[in-house]
């Protein structure tokens, strides 16, 4: 009854109403961002007095925005590669290894996930200051890798655990060495998990701002760090433009993921 939409009776109306309000609540800010990005008034009037592409032109011509965009992309790619590589190592140890303390190790590998990022941010800031890594690209990579790695480990380990161990055995009996079997047979078999690991790692780095504040320097700013700086100073339409582009990017990414999932189900 309660799980059959057609038999909910009055409850259905209530449920639809709450769901409708929730959808408006979830979508309104995103729609607002897009509307503001075309708003001709500089003072963010809503509803807008007119429409313009001026802010897009300004943002796209601004080398600062482009620089921080490129920084974010570079950082995200390096972090993703490192995170997937280390995630594979950890995954093989956790899913295929058999050693005392394995479960403790699994727990330890996941702790960065529950660590409040402000604590991690200042802890790394203090350490990296001493090691002269603060404000460097390497420092940024290491810091975001700490945050991204647990997601990668979770995705890859669970994919490995769902993959029949005898696939590895079968490949070895066919003449492949252990790591040859893993690369040629297991990696393609868990490509779904690797894809998730990559997406989560990239998004973690791409969207991260708290740790990034402490890793950034005036010459090295990721997109979120620059956005935070702009938001703190003034509510300029530039940010609406950047935000709108980011929403568009998210939609594209979701479409890509859906396509990949569909493909791997076949």
């Amino acid at each position: 009854m309660l799980l059959d939409f057609s038999q909910l009776g009055w409850w259905r109306i209530a449920l639809c109403a709450v769901a409708g309000v929730a959808v408006v609540f979830l979508l309104a800010p995103l729609c607002l961002l897009i509307a503001l990005s075309f708003d001709s008034s500089q003072w963010l009037q809503f509803p807008p007095p007119g429409w313009t592409l001026q802010w897009y032109r300004e943002v796209l011509a601004d080398p600062n925005w482009l620089n921080s965009f490129l920084t974010s992309v570079e950082l995200g790619i390096v972090v993703t590669l490192a995170s997937v590589f280390l995630g594979l190592l950890a995954g093989f140890a956790l899913a295929r290894g058999n050693f005392p303390g394995r479960e403790m190790l699994r727990g330890f590998f996941l702790t960065p996930m529950i660590m409040p990022s402000i604590v991690l941010g200042i802890a790394l800031y203090a350490t990296f200051l001493r090691l002269h890594l603060a404000g460097t690209f390497l420092g940024f990579v290491l810091a975001h890798l700490v945050l991204a790695l647990p997601f990668s480990i979770v995705a890859i380990t669970s994919a490995l655990e769902q993959t029949d161990k005898s696939l590895e055995d079968a490949a070895m009996l066919c003449g492949a060495s252990l790591w040859e079997a893993r690369v040629r047979v297991i990696l393609p078999a868990i490509r779904h998990g690797i894809f998730s690991a990559a997406i989560f790692s990239f998004l973690t780095s791409w969207d991260e701002v708290v740790v990034a504040i402490f890793m950034a320097s005036p010459g090295l700013q990721t997109l979120p760090v620059r956005m935070l700086g702009e938001v703190r100073q003034n509510l300029s339409p530039d940010i609406a433009v950047v935000s709108s582009l980011l929403v568009l990017g998210t939609i594209l990414l979701m479409g890509l993921t859906a396509l990949f999932n569909k493909d791997s189900k076949r």
Partner: protein
């Protein structure tokens, strides 16, 4: 052939076999120890070392009324955010689970879209929405519900709205699994037993979802405790939360000792709550019954 006549024994392999496959974990372990464990321990150590050895930072944190207010604020706001998120998240997740699959998938897509959208973009949108002359206040004045704009931006209400927006997807996702595992025939059985919809809801639906609600609620509560950006952008000076306090101590006051102490408090609460979750709220399948 005479050599193979004796029985071979392979005892040296025995010990090594017991801990097989640890090697690939070594680089990961090393990395996390160096870039995670050591920095955090060093920070916590500073809380009792600076400016000199002792618990003075902890005393200051609890005794100074400003700092104590921040602690109280943090817990109050986190609690309100968790409660509201649960109240909206449950019906939304329920709707997604039972609605015709096309509608359900569309709604879930919106939830994921909002979750994956850049945090600052979302917070920025709320900064605009919540202004005194922003769309929400304008709309309310236009309808005649209020005469003067509500003080949303720079207030606790603003912080709560912005954080509920960010946390809502987590609740929907937490409830997705538990909802999917409910058996529809259970509710048919309940109604044949004579239960009304309300009785089915309170006696079967809610109890079965309780572990999911508790898990989702706990994650949201703990995340809220350590949240920095959204409260600092949407709240006023009097709504400061713990994470902002920590950042402020480091960035403007260079008071590493107090920042370390506040971090320690945040960490202890976080880890304790997660430990409680792991012990009591683990999914049914993992519990030994």
């Amino acid at each position: 052939m005479t050599l193979t006549g004796t029985v071979q024994t392979v005892p040296p392999e025995k010990r090594r076999r017991r801990s097989r496959g640890f090697a690939p974990a070594v680089p990961v372990l090393t990395f996390l120890l160096l870039c995670f464990t050591l920095p955090v321990l060093a920070l916590l150590l500073r809380s009792v070392m600076e400016p000199h050895l002792g618990l003075q930072n902890y005393a200051a944190l609890l005794a100074t009324s400003t700092y104590a207010n921040v602690l109280e604020n943090t817990f109050v706001i986190s609690f309100i955010v968790t409660a509201i998120t649960t109240l909206i998240g449950l019906p939304l997740a329920w709707f997604i689970a039972v609605a015709p699959s096309r509608v359900g998938r569309f709604m879930f897509g919106i939830v994921i879209l909002s979750m994956w959208t850049n945090l600052l973009a979302r917070t920025y949108a709320w900064m605009v929405l919540l202004q005194d002359n922003g769309p929400i206040n304008n709309f309310l004045i236009w309808t005649g519900i209020i005469q003067n704009p509500l003080p949303l931006y720079g207030s606790m209400a603003g912080v709560v709205i912005g954080m509920v927006y960010i946390m809502l997807p987590f609740m929907v996702i937490s409830l997705r699994g538990p909802l999917a595992s409910l058996d529809p025939s259970m509710f048919q059985a309940a109604s044949l037993c004579g239960a009304s919809r309300l009785q089915s809801f309170t006696r079967i639906f809610l109890p079965l979802l309780l572990p999911g609600l508790a898990a989702g609620g706990l994650i949201i509560f703990v995340m809220s405790l350590g949240y920095y950006i959204t409260p600092s952008l949407l709240g006023g000076a009097q709504d400061m939360m713990l994470a902002e306090l920590i950042a402020q101590q480091v960035q403007t006051l260079l008071n590493w000792g107090l920042a370390g102490a506040a971090s320690f408090v945040l960490l202890v609460v976080t880890l304790t709550l997660y430990a409680v979750q792991a012990r009591y709220l683990a999914p049914h399948g993992l519990k030994r019954s």
